[in-house]
């Protein structure tokens, strides 16, 4: 009987220690994720973003829906990177293509069939732009985050995290979403927006917007495997400081990024046609702007 109790106690202790071995605080996991992101040599990523905007007033109801899919490769050992965007305007069915290469300290863009080689002042900074992962890890770092449980991603046991970015980041996202919403809008941007001292009505905008992040970090190596960001906004007359009945602009943006093939061999080769580059004669199609800055 004594032996049986001892076995039970031992088993309990083993279970307890296993449970604690998996336990990690949110702050610890932030630091581990940052460190792991800084130490990788190469990886692939794929991203899907979708935005839907609905415009309404007394006499009009209109909308805009688009998706942007991105695949990319990063080789930090060779200091090279590549991304390829495909934007689909769901309303018209139009598809826009854009690729970027960073190889041997030079950057090339392919827009449609046209190539441009850029003169770079700071190629190190450009490589940092191509290195997608650390910025996502920093988004977690500058968020209030909670480990909500465990889930498998591609067969890997991961911590599941929910996070709310700090105010400065939320404001950058929501503020940009407001203006991005106006790019496809049948309503014109209020003139007051150009005034130096214009700002939105603070309380209303907080009540009518939400930014949330969900992330999955693998337990064995603390690498970020997947991150989803949701941002929603309901623009009301109060926020915009305008007077119009039944006016709303509702905008949602969902983005999910998957990171794979960490530290696997990555080949990024510049197509020979890129060497026949010409000057970039015009800016990007406005629909790229719906998903943010022209840069990737």
């Amino acid at each position: 009987m004594k032996n049986f109790s001892a076995i039970i106690a031992l088993a309990f202790l083993l279970l307890l220690s296993t449970a604690f071995a998996e336990d990690v605080s949110a702050d610890q996991l932030k630091q581990m994720t940052i460190k792991s992101a800084d130490e990788v040599a190469s990886y692939d990523y794929s991203r899907m973003a979708q935005t839907a905007i609905v415009y309404k007033n007394e006499s009009l109801e209109d909308g805009f829906v688009a998706t942007k899919t991105t695949v990319g490769k990063v080789n930090l050992t060779a200091q090279s990177g590549w991304w390829s965007h495909q934007l689909k305007d769901t309303g018209t069915g139009e598809v826009l293509l854009w690729q970027g290469y960073f190889i041997n300290g030079k950057e090339y863009w392919k827009e449609g069939d046209n190539w441009t080689e850029f003169i770079l002042n700071d190629s190190r900074a450009v490589m940092e732009d191509y290195n997608d992962l650390p910025g996502q890890a920093e988004l977690l770092n500058y968020s209030d985050m909670i480990i909500t449980g465990s889930e498998e991603i591609e067969g890997l046991d991961c911590y599941k995290i929910t996070a709310e970015p700090i105010a400065a980041v939320q404001k950058a996202i929501i503020g940009t979403q407001i203006f991005a919403s106006y790019l496809a809008s049948p309503f014109s941007l209020p003139d007051e927006f150009e005034a130096d001292d214009f700002d939105f009505e603070n309380t209303s905008i907080i009540e009518n917007s939400d930014v949330s992040v969900t992330a999955w970090v693998s337990k064995n190596d603390s690498l970020l495997r997947r991150m989803s960001i949701d941002s929603s906004l309901n623009l009301t007359p109060a926020i915009l400081k305008i007077y119009e009945q039944n006016f709303t602009i509702q905008s949602t943006l969902h983005e999910t990024t998957d990171y794979t093939d960490f530290d696997q061999p990555v080949q990024i080769e510049l197509p020979t046609e890129a060497l026949n580059s010409s000057y970039r004669m015009q800016g990007a199609d406005w629909r790229w702007g719906v998903f943010g800055l022209v840069e990737p």
Partner: protein, 175 residues
């Protein structure tokens, strides 16, 4: 009698003094013109996207207005001041800061030095961090005490303000 000039071996010219001067002038003019063309082409290439992008991604408005700056691109700031876009890109011109809004982190009043966001952040012991957002990465400065400030807010002296438009204003100049 003809003579071949070394620098332009394929051009034959008369040796009479007046003709010599005229020819030399034409050659010099052609050389200057070709140099100018090359320089203009290079400037055009250099100022295509990085210059505009640097202005816009810094939160300012890139404009080309015939009545300003000889029609060359300008980067205009919230106080309606502006810089030639190339000069802003090169760091030789920038927005006027309002140091009293950010006393600990900005240069003294009256300073003629143009301080970039990086300079202000780093001189305050801070570190620049690039943070992903679904609308593009943003830069924030993390000060030694752990407080953070958006990079654009620093460069406009509005750290800590409710400044929803700080990134968004660049959308007025959307692609």
């Amino acid at each position: 009698m003809t003579q071949t000039k070394g620098i332009f071996p394929m051009i034959s010219v008369q040796t009479r003094p007046a003709a010599k001067i005229l020819t030399a002038f034409i050659i010099l003019a052609m050389f200057c013109l070709s140099t100018l063309c090359c320089a203009t082409a290079l400037a055009a290439q250099a100022s295509t996207d990085p210059v505009r992008t640097h202005c816009v991604s810094s939160g300012y408005l890139y404009r080309t207005t015939p009545s300003l700056n000889g029609g060359q691109g300008i980067c205009s700031f919230p106080d309606n001041s502006w810089c030639d876009a190339n000069e802003f890109y090169n760091g030789s011109c920038g927005p006027r800061l309002t140091p009293n809004i950010l006393p600990g982190y900005a240069f003294a009043t009256g300073s003629t030095k143009v301080a970039s966001m990086q300079e202000i952040c780093i001189s305050s012991g801070g570190r620049i961090k690039s943070v992903h957002t679904p609308y593009g990465d943003i830069a924030i400065c993390v000060f030694p005490d752990g407080t953070t400030c958006d990079a654009k807010a620093i460069s406009e002296g509005r750290c800590g303000a409710d400044y929803w438009t700080i990134y968004a204003q660049s959308w007025l100049n959307a692609p």
